[in-house]
């Protein structure tokens, strides 16, 4: 059986999703924290690297600067002769490998009124050191930057780097230091000492700065020109501002402005060279006013963090997988008996009470459920078995009761009119048992030449016992009447018939049942009626004329069958042609409507009077039945309803004569 999105799915899903969230959170937080820690460390490293590189450059540049400065001091002291100057220059070159050339340039006409340019210059050439005197109409050095700027500023300056064409095609920069002499008490510029310094080492040094894989360093002059840069063609050709302009990079522009101002910062930016995001750390070279920048790519810095996160994530994912397997298999273990139990429950619901139940080995709630279910299955099986037996037994009983009903109805005379030849009277009767069988009965039969016997009775109680008693009572009355009719010359005597019948009924009547009976004999010739009443409702007599319906004044005598030795008397009256006698049991007068009202004797007598002009006995009986049913208005019939109507028509009626 497949249960999509069942309990195990939901269980596993909720546990696993919660776990996944926790794992992801842990991984994310770990990554964040590690990244911050690493970035902080990396930034410190970057700053240190920048500072160390600056220091290394400074450690070379500062001594270099001291050389022209020393020469400048010597010039101010005025101790050197012209030859001394040449010698000094030569010695400087010999002593300082990084100095490619040195010039001591005097103010025009500063050395001698006759000589405009005096600037002994010693430089290295492929053939060895060479010496020359600078200046001339073609080279008016007093207007050159290397001369004019320190002269005007009054302190040493470094020139922009340049490639020296003559001096070995090397990257050079010139350091110019002005020197002074006193003229009329005033300190005046006397000249400028320059040293051409090879910067090849600087380029190598800066280029050798390796940061991770794609990190790099570059050097800017105080005007923003690149001195070194890993990109081909950038050094000396481009400034940081031209690059910023070219790429429309405002951030780079502001970085450049800060760099040439001598700022020192660490900023996050995107490298135009590698296109990577990263951190740029820059610091000034104090002695030159240049600025060194080192770029570290972020992704490479974070590679470690990423690796760490990857490991954490991998571990989390692995743990999650293991957890998932455990949770799913555990929930399957828990749920699978439930599923099998559900299957068994369905089988049981479909009627298979012997459906095998899953065996649950654990001692938990599922086991309890399975046990309860097994108990229920057992109880259900027992119950259904009992029910089947009970139903079968009830069906048998019902079938027997139906047959009993048919038998009971069969022993009542049902042929109407009973004696079509007899024109003296018209009779009709009906019996409606409240249950399948009842205790009411009626009967009628010829009792001799002139006499016609009719009986109505009501056994105490209802159902099968009453039905038995009714059959006995009815049979007995007829038997007694038949056996006595020949003995009585004076005609039949219902009182004595009743006395005998009651005595017979009372004998061995252990159940103490009894029966009310009204038994009457009609003399068809004269209309005389002899009757005996054993505790039965008196019949209603509806006279043929205009008189009111009246209850027959029969003597009150005990019910039949109650005790032995009860004597019944006979009463007698005469019916006029057209008179109707209505016999009934208390099922009529005690019929109840939903408001708990009784049909009652008054209603009965009104009904009878309203039917004075009735057609025949059958119509009378059937209409009374309908009237009672209408009155009950759906309320359950609590007692058998029996009605018998007899209309005396007279001896010489047109319809015929029994005796004829």
């Amino acid at each position: 059986m497949h249960l999509p999105r069942g309990l195990s799915f939901r269980l596993a899903a909720s546990i696993l999703s919660a776990t996944a969230v926790v794992f992801v959170l842990i991984t994310a937080v770990t990554y964040q924290m590690a990244r911050e820690a690493l970035l902080n460390g990396a930034n410190d490293n970057l700053k240190n690297l920048t500072r160390a590189t600056v220091n290394r450059i400074e450690s070379v540049l500062a001594p270099v600067l001291r050389v022209p400065r020393g020469v400048a001091y010597e010039m101010e002291e005025g101790t050197l002769s012209e030859a001394g100057m040449w010698q000094r220059e030569r010695r400087v070159l010999d002593d300082n490998a990084e100095i490619y050339g040195m010039a001591i340039a005097f103010e025009p006409f500063g050395r001698s009124k006759s000589q405009e340019y005096f600037a002994p210059y010693t430089y290295r050439s492929p053939l060895g050191p060479m010496q020359t005197n600078l200046g001339g109409p073609a080279y008016r050095y007093q207007y050159m930057d290397w001369y004019q700027i320190p002269r005007e500023l009054g302190h040493p300056i470094w020139s922009e780097p340049y490639y020296d064409q003559g001096g070995g095609n090397a990257l050079m920069a010139t350091c110019s230091v002005p020197f002074y002499h006193m003229v009329e008490g005033k300190r005046q510029v006397a000249g400028v000492v320059t040293a051409d310094v090879s910067l090849q080492w600087l380029k190598r040094l800066v280029d050798s700065v390796m940061v991770l894989n794609t990190g790099y360093a570059f050097l800017l002059t105080s005007t923003g020109t690149y001195v070194t840069h890993p990109a081909e063609g950038v050094p000396f050709n481009e400034t940081i501002f031209s690059r910023a302009e070219e790429h429309n990079d405002a951030n780079l522009r502001s970085i450049g402005q800060d760099m040439i101002r001598g700022g020192s910062r660490l900023v996050e930016t995107t490298s135009l060279h590698t296109g990577k995001r990263g951190f740029l750390c820059y610091a000034p070279l104090p002695s030159t006013g240049w600025s060194l920048a080192v770029f570290a790519p972020r992704d490479e810095l974070l590679a470690e963090v990423n690796r760490l996160s990857l490991v954490t994530g991998g571990l989390s994912a692995g743990g999650f997988l293991i957890l998932a397997i455990i949770v799913i298999s555990l929930s399957r273990t828990i749920i699978s008996p439930l599923r099998r139990l559900a299957g068994a429950a369905r089988a049981v619901a479909e009627g298979d009470l012997a459906a095998p139940l899953p065996e649950v080995r654990t001692h938990d709630e599922v086991r309890e459920l399975a046990d309860s279910f097994a108990h229920m299955q057992g109880s259900l099986a027992t119950y259904i078995k009992d029910l089947t037996v009970a139903t079968a037994s009830r069906e048998r009983m019902e079938s027997e009761l139906r047959i009993a009903h048919d038998i009971q109805m069969g022993i009542l005379p049902k042929l109407f009119p009973p004696f079509p030849d007899c024109g003296e009277f018209d009779l009709h009767a009906t019996l409606n048992p409240a249950r399948e069988v009842g205790g009411d009965f009626y009967d009628f039969f010829r009792a001799g030449e002139d006499w016609f016997c009719f009986v109505i009775g009501d056994v105490s109680g209802k159902g099968v016992p009453a039905a038995f008693y009714m059959a006995v009572a009815k049979t007995l009355i007829k038997a007694v009447a038949e056996s006595t009719k020949k003995d009585l010359a004076a005609g039949p005597d219902p009182g004595s018939i009743m006395t005998r019948a009651s005595n017979d009924l009372a004998q061995d009547n252990e159940s103490c049942m009894f029966v009310t009976i009204f038994c009457a004999m009609l003399n068809m010739r004269t209309g005389e009626v002899r009757s005996a009443c054993a505790g039965h409702n008196p019949p209603l007599l509806l006279p043929a004329g205009t008189g009111p319906a009246q209850w027959l004044p029969v003597p009150r005598q005990p019910v039949a069958g109650a005790m032995e030795g009860v004597e019944y008397s006979t009463a007698s009256f005469t019916m006029a042609p057209g008179d109707t006698l209505l016999l009934y049991t208390d099922g009529v007068t005690e019929a109840m409507n939903p408001a708990q009202e009784l049909y009652g004797e008054e209603r009965l007598s009104h009904f009878a009077e309203s039917k004075r002009g009735f057609v025949n006995a059958r119509a009378m009986v059937e209409e009374l039945e309908r009237d009672v049913t209408a009155f009950a208005n759906g309320a359950e019939q609590s007692d058998d309803i029996t009605i018998l109507a007899l209309r005396y028509l007279g001896a010489n009626h047109d319809a015929g004569n029994c005796r004829a």
């Binding site: 103490c512 505790g535 009150r556 005598q557």
Partner: protein, 110 residues
């Protein structure tokens, strides 16, 4: 049905209250049988509190009367009223069994 009883001379007086129909009728018989078994064989039932009696009630009374008789005792009824008196009358029970007007008459029997 509710029963209260008291001893009065040779008789046990039983006051009956309620309705004696198909459902409750056996209670009356059971109550009387209970007294019969304790040796009280002369019973007087005061039916002034009885509101209704059905044929099942009559049967119960008849059965009780027979049981009293079998023990050598009897049962008398008094203070019948309304529909109960009518049922006793119509069914002829008033002639079958000793039925008296008042309690004194019932207890004054020989």
């Amino acid at each position: 049905m509710e029963f209260t009883s008291e001893k009065s001379g040779a008789f046990l007086l039983l006051m009956v209250k309620g309705r004696m129909d198909t459902i409750t009728a056996p209670e009356f018989e059971a109550e009387c049988v209970k007294w019969l078994e304790t040796g009280e064989i002369r019973l007087v039932a005061d039916l002034s509190g009885l509101e209704y009696i059905s044929s099942a009630g009559l049967r119960s009374i008849l059965s009780t009367a027979k049981k009293c008789k079998a023990k050598g005792g009897d049962i008398a009824f008094c203070n019948l009223s309304g529909i109960v008196a009518e049922v006793f009358s119509v069914s002829g029970f008033s002639t079958l069994l000793p039925v008296l007007e008042t309690r004194e008459q019932a207890l004054g029997r020989s």
